[in-house]
């Protein structure tokens, strides 16, 4: 089963522009994130935060939720 509730753990390792844009969308460490949809072949991930849906890349998603970058 895929767990789809996450908490943002860190912004470290992301480039400045990505961090800044995520901040502007109201995301911060500790934000609750629901992964709504994963695209195949490590395609983008749709996440839901504060009643808004945002598409991000898989790599960014992994980094935010503390997973290792593969």
């Amino acid at each position: 089963m895929i767990m789809n509730h996450f908490m943002i753990k860190k912004f470290n390792g992301l480039d400045d522009a990505t961090t800044q844009r995520l901040h502007s969308l109201g995301l911060q460490v500790g934000s609750d994130v629901t992964a709504v949809r994963f695209y195949p072949f490590h395609g983008p991930v749709i996440i839901q935060v504060d009643h808004q849906k945002i598409g991000i890349r898989y790599r960014v998603f992994q980094q935010l939720t503390g997973g290792d970058v593969s």
Partner: protein, 664 residues
Amino acid sequence: MTTVALLGNPNTGKTTLFNELTDKYAYVGNWTGVTVEKKVGQIRHSNTEVIDLPGVYSLSPITKDESVVTNYLLRDSPDLILNVTNASQLKRNLLLSIEVLELGVPVIITLNMIDDLKRSGHYYDLKTLSTELGCPVRTSNARNKEGLPQLKADLVQNQADIKPNSPLQLNYPIMVSQAIRQATKALTTDYQVDAKFARWLAIQYINDNKVVRKYAVAHHLKPLLSQQAYYDAQKFSDQIFETRLSFIEATLATATEQLHSTKHVAITSKIDKVVTNPILGLPIFAGIFFLMFKLSFDWVGTPLSHQLDKLLSGPISTWANQFLTQVGALPMLRSLIVNGLIAGVGGVLTFIPQIFTLFACISILEDSGYMARAALVTDRIMEMIGLNGKAFIPLIIGFGCNVTGIMAARTIEQPKERLITTLISPFMSCSARLPIYSLFVAALFPRNQAVIVLSLYFLGIVVALLMAKFYHVIFRAKEHSVFIVELPQYHIPKLSIVWHGTWDKGKGFIKKAGTIIFAGTVLIWLLSNFNAHGYVTQIDHSFAASLGQILLPIFKPIGITTWQPISALLTGVLAKEVISSSMMVLFHTANQGALIGMIGGSFTALSAYALLVFVLLYIPCFATIGTIKSETGSAKWAAYSVVSSLFISYGLAFLIFQIGSLLT
């Protein structure tokens, strides 16, 4: 004259609000230095001018068009800022509002799309918001014209009557406040900067705003420059962000009211389940496009075009001819008007129904919120060629016009990705190429019109993607793509908004018909009716014919056997629409039916397809070449684009014709 600037996040309905508040554009210009459209409108019966700024997430710009807003605030000072926010996304919208409120210019905040908020079961106490933020707060729903009279009344004030706002003062952490205070003081005493502006500059500078940092360098603001390393080492920008966010959370917590909950959000989720489905997403995307083309070329656009053509080439042409004969006009003038202008310009105008149907479809997709989903479902493919899904949107807009497509590439964050997108944009089959496709498919593929046209569009996409991959390897673009797209709520497209969007995109076509196509037609008429010895009655002896004849050997290998299409292709560099009007003049016909017959006679299905491929990919029009030059800031890229596209188009047309000839 009172100047009001509209400022807000993307997807807040800002442009709709602008269109509803102002009855017409006073003018559309460009921002200095960049070619982002600057729209200025006027509120009816008033002295208030409204400026529509591009949508931004924050005043610290990442992309080129976002920097327009910051530069505007640095250089001009509007009398009033109307901050348009998305009521259901207030938390992040207020991040921008705070930056604007700190400037100390009078601000009115409107919670737009207020109905979406109500449906989600929340509401905000406006008084609380207004006290906390220190500015008037209104609600509106631009789509249903709700709350607009109130906003208009707010905006239609004399300059002198606008109440000044004192800048918003947040409690930044001690170290940050101290830094702000010191910098502000030094700027006001040593550099005579206005105190409010100095404070805003200091905050923005500390917050690592790239444009403001450049501004500080340009103006030698030493108090800021000398402290830069300290600000950055202490991570003040993170602290500023956290302070702002907690202020917003506290404010919203006190202002939130609960309403009886309803189930609107469920609709968006349901649609999204289908259109962003991991497996079905792409086929649906292709299906929507197929439908768009069917509508434009088979069901609605083409039948209307035929009616218009009948009218122009029948009654109007005959009437003009008779009238000119009666008043005793010179045969030469009669030929210019009837065979040149009515046939040429009129011939292009008959494509208005098809082009407008296509634009209407694109506008519906934009207004409904589907475009962001399209970016998402195409991202994985775009990632393979080193771009991201966002580059797909400029490419789709390029179907309308390459110039606007290239301009839309400004929303792409990385310079190299932007350059690649700019370079591949001309391969997208713009609407100006449609008339010529329509002629040829009507002549040689009457049964499969939509399929043939669609195949050309797809070929354009494939060539564009292959070239993108090629550039990606050549440029060694290693930097990671920033790909973050907001998926807005779906909206049922509104007729007035779709019409506005269609007209905005399509009016350029009509304008061109009156200017460059008109000029091109006259030029072609001159070339085809004169030679070195003067007026000729036989077109075969004209300038156009000899020019075409000279180039004929070069074009033989791609299947062109007569000189007329070659001369027409040459004029196509002026504007692609001119090709078909040139054909009309060069083949000496006055109506589409006769021209289609002529084309059917001098082409085979194979040579026609090779020619269409050539038309699809060859040299971009003047306007596009100019835009490439201004967007990349170098004439070299523009020249490169001309040469490379000529090479690619010839190569591909050559392959298609030669291999096709072997097979048949």
